[in-house]
Amino acid sequence: MTEVSMKNRKKMYGGRWRGVKEFLKVYRKNKLGMIGLILIIIYVFIAIFAPYITPYNPYEKTGKPFIPPSPEHIFGTDELGRDIFSLTIYGTRISLFVGILATLLSAVIGSAVGILSGYFGGLIDDLLMRITDLFLIIPGIPFLIVLSVILGSNIWNIITVIAIISWPSTARLVRSETLSLKSRTFIEAAKLAGATDTYILTRHILVNVLPLISASIILTITRAIILEAGLSFLGLGDPTKISWGTMLYFADRYGAMFSSNPYYIIIPGVALSVLGLAFVFVSYAVDEIVNPRLRTRRLR
């Protein structure tokens, strides 16, 4: 009996990824979504293997300043004679790192606020939602600029600042889903079985809002990456780290557009736009699957 039961227990947990598999099956039919996903995978690959791809160390002077594209430097060099190609490749790392980390941070804050506020309601809900409204109402970019000036230009501060302005939308989303879950009878059934609030929140509510949270993560990443680039372009980025934003900032400052090497501006710009586009494609595809209203429209 015990041996059989052990085997069964394994089988029970084996089906955990079934939902993911079903999701991928639907996702694969979405062409734009697949293009976006492949692009993102390429970017991640580039970020991880940056040292093996780049011909030069991006922090070192490897030629004269502003060399136009040549066999040695395929996209030329910047004002210090550094290789643009290598800089851009390394920039992928920072852009992805900041984007992903800021998004995760904002997802954690947003989900926690949303779930607590939706589940407990009453005074807690009022309080948390007023705070959320406050952050939602503040115009993002000016607030970002002010905050990063106050906190200083350091990569962790940038991550924090981006997370601070992106969590409210997640919180709103999660709260409304929690509200509708809360009134379902299986929550009452769990209470009846003797479940504590913590148990219900983690075992019943969180698992049911998780798909929504992951969809909102993908939406937020796009925003976070663009925000990071925007901040860095305004000169508020971390000057010791290479990101596409800081590259654009220096390119702009040294008048790269009208120098002998306009690729200094074009290449990081293109890299940024394509990554942004890739995430937008993916988020549209995911949205279409997760959002039941869009799904029915597509099936029709």
Binding site: R9, F186, A190, L192, A195
Partner: protein, 269 residues
């Protein structure tokens, strides 16, 4: 409320001689698994992200009724077999959306009886199911009544199934019990006008009978329970309304050993 989820504004819920709302927390924790519930809608009452095994095992785990995983496993297997979810190995790894309505309701019943309760509130457990499935689910419930000695509070508007499962019946109108007693006695000999109307509305599959029968039709809709009518709550729709009905709420009286009615018609002046 009977199961301690909502606090009553007045009145008591007595379990084994004790008011459950006056119990100490620890005491309440010890007995709460003896009081269970089966819900009307098996599509709503099961968490879509839990496997059948976890759904049924949850009350055991939460109440720490068994210490070892093997004991829980064996218990769940046994209960699944007794509600005819066989083979249990097959069903326990499924999610609710992979089951039919009848199977889901069996899971809900399994969940309710797994803690071996004394008392189960069954809120229209068969109203969402096909007529062909109702009898088998009801027989299942009756089987547990006989085997485990469970008491049911069976909430329904379907008098036919009520008679099938019930011993005693209480008819409620606008939140008040208007008539109660042995179920056969109540159906054969209804005293309250509301009960009479209810019983006359049961469809009988016999055209001959239906043509001859005169149905009592009630006028209008039940008023809002937030602001119930003065006097007897049923008076605005009652076909036998008297003057006193508008002014005073009748007392509940015992008409025939345990058959209680709350109506001025039966109160002798």
């Amino acid at each position: 409320m009977v199961l301690g989820l909502y606090k009553p504004t007045n009145g008591k819920v007595i379990y084994k001689g004790k008011d459950i709302f006056r119990m100490r927390r620890r005491e309440w924790r010890k007995i709460r698994h003896k009081l269970q519930m089966i819900y009307q809608d098996p599509y709503e009452s099961l968490n879509p992200r839990q496997k059948v095994f976890d759904i049924i095992a949850e009350p055991l785990r939460l109440n720490k009724l068994y210490s070892s995983k093997d004991e829980i496993y064996d218990k769940v297997m046994g209960v699944m077999e007794s509600v005819k979810l066989v083979p249990p190995e097959d069903f326990m790894i499924r999610y609710p959306h992979e089951l039919s309505g009848g199977q889901r309701q069996r899971v809900a019943i399994a969940r309710a009886i797994v803690t071996e309760p004394d008392f189960i509130v069954a809120d229209e457990p068969v109203s969402m199911l096909d007529a062909s499935l109702r009898a088998s689910i009801l027989d299942l419930l009756l089987g547990f009544r006989d085997k485990l000695g469970v008491t049911y509070l069976y909430i329904t508007h379907d008098l036919a199934t009520a008679r099938y499962v019930g011993d005693r019946m209480a008819i409620m109108y606008l939140g008040q019990i208007v008539e109660s007693g042995q179920i056969d006695e109540l159906i054969e000999n209804p005293m309250h006008p509301y009960t009479q109307a209810l019983i006359s509305s049961i469809p009988v599959p016999d055209p001959e009978y239906t043509r001859k029968k005169k149905r009592i039709k009630l006028k209008g809709e039940p008023p809002t329970p937030i602001n119930p009518p003065k006097g007897c709550r049923f008076h605005p729709r009652c076909p036998y309304k008297m003057d006193i009905c508008e002014k005073e709420d009748p007392e509940e009286i015992n008409v025939n050993n345990g058959h209680m009615v709350k109506c001025w018609l039966h109160i002798k002046k």
